[in-house]
Subunit: 283 residues, 2 copies
Amino acid sequence: MTLKVISENRSFGGVQAVYAHRSEVCDCDMTFGAYLPPQANDGPVPVLWYLSGLTCTHENAMTKGGFQEHAARHGVAVIFPDTSPRGDGVADDEAYDLGQGAGFYVNATRAPWAGHFQMYDYVLSELRSLALDALPLEDCHGITGHSMGGHGAITMALRNPDAFTSLSAFAPIAHPANSDWGRKQLGAYLGDDESAWALHDSVLLMQQNGWKGDLLVDQGMSDNFLDLLMPEALASVMAKRRQAGEIRLQAGYDHSYFFVNSFAGDHAAWHAERLMRPHAGRH
Amino acid sequence: MTLKVISENRSFGGVQAVYAHRSEVCDCDMTFGAYLPPQANDGPVPVLWYLSGLTCTHENAMTKGGFQEHAARHGVAVIFPDTSPRGDGVADDEAYDLGQGAGFYVNATRAPWAGHFQMYDYVLSELRSLALDALPLEDCHGITGHSMGGHGAITMALRNPDAFTSLSAFAPIAHPANSDWGRKQLGAYLGDDESAWALHDSVLLMQQNGWKGDLLVDQGMSDNFLDLLMPEALASVMAKRRQAGEIRLQAGYDHSYFFVNSFAGDHAAWHAERLMRPHAGRH
């Protein structure tokens, strides 16, 4: 599998690249961003996965999230996957929150989505292998994300604790099985049997599995979408489980990238500290 | 004159706002961004003006430049003006580098531009007065900008040394009177008499006036537009004049916001240090 270079820009002494490649899993061409810090010139570096939210491509967080400065300081790479398969042959919906730009990080089993919408396997397996093969990365991973991407980060990590060393999220869709940001999409992609949805719900997975380490969640208290995100459900189940971690309720912050980049430094430091611990998942 | 709030987003403990207002000078509605750091809650703060480049609005640098973090640390406000008048009644050109999005920070004297394209007076006088009236700002100013905005910053400061305490630029169009990024626009806006252009050319103004203090210029060495920007002409005239300052030639960097935000922290610190000096232009 080869990567096609779409762009490369020097950034904080490293390189912010955009690559395209053929995805077997999604059966279409896919695009992703990868920031390699200057330390990657001297050898492989750990990697932080950043999953984006509804309507985003690989580009939004890459240009607005401000992660490069922090990643360069800590010597961590950041990969920004797209949020869905795309292209003329790929199913879509008129709504902003279903179809292209709204993959929800699941493997769709229902028409018309099943043929391409396999974002869970794409991020967790195909893109991970591809990136490890093609880029100077250690097989040592943290994962974070925003909104729908925070949902993706928590659900992937809780279901695959061996695959990730560190975990955080920005304003995650915490309880999609019980939210209008979730029920519609999980129904469309996975069908009406809600037992299948439980594997893609952070609150239900936290209740069931917990997380092996600690996790950091930031949530703006002036977020217009609090009713859809349901951070209180995640906080509640974490407290009941005695789950280690921090849920930080940030006064005055909304759901925008101005929120994300205000705390990007804290999240980068959180991951770097855990990824850099001796033998902390580094292979 | 009242400001209409277009948006307000919490950012690094402060507020990134966007305002619209009627401009008498440009005879149209104008939009600008203003970042107020948390220190502005306790009293007026100095202000850094950031002038943007060709094709940009008030928004590009505000979302991609990464200035908020640094401004919050130093307690400096940042104002992001638009790059031209806009609207249905405002003249435009099919080219990206003339008309709307390309005001070049001059007062146009020629049709069809003279009626609205008065960006020099707009930034230097009207918006400055408006911002000082409406926002918690000290009458103490630094100015910077990128590309066409770097040109605007240097030319405004060199012509108005009492109006600005500190000066820097990112990849400025340094010698527009001698560049295809300049001759076309200065001719269109100001007419064919090149003596009028000299008041809007950083190299010629530096030769004539110098700058009262020191200035910081960053220029990427992998910038695709080096031939149009002519940093060598600025470096040469600064050296000949024994002008204090730093021209930093940054290996590998291009003309993008990935370049700008990589050095935004250095520029913010440069301005903050000079703006915060006791009585350094603070009224």
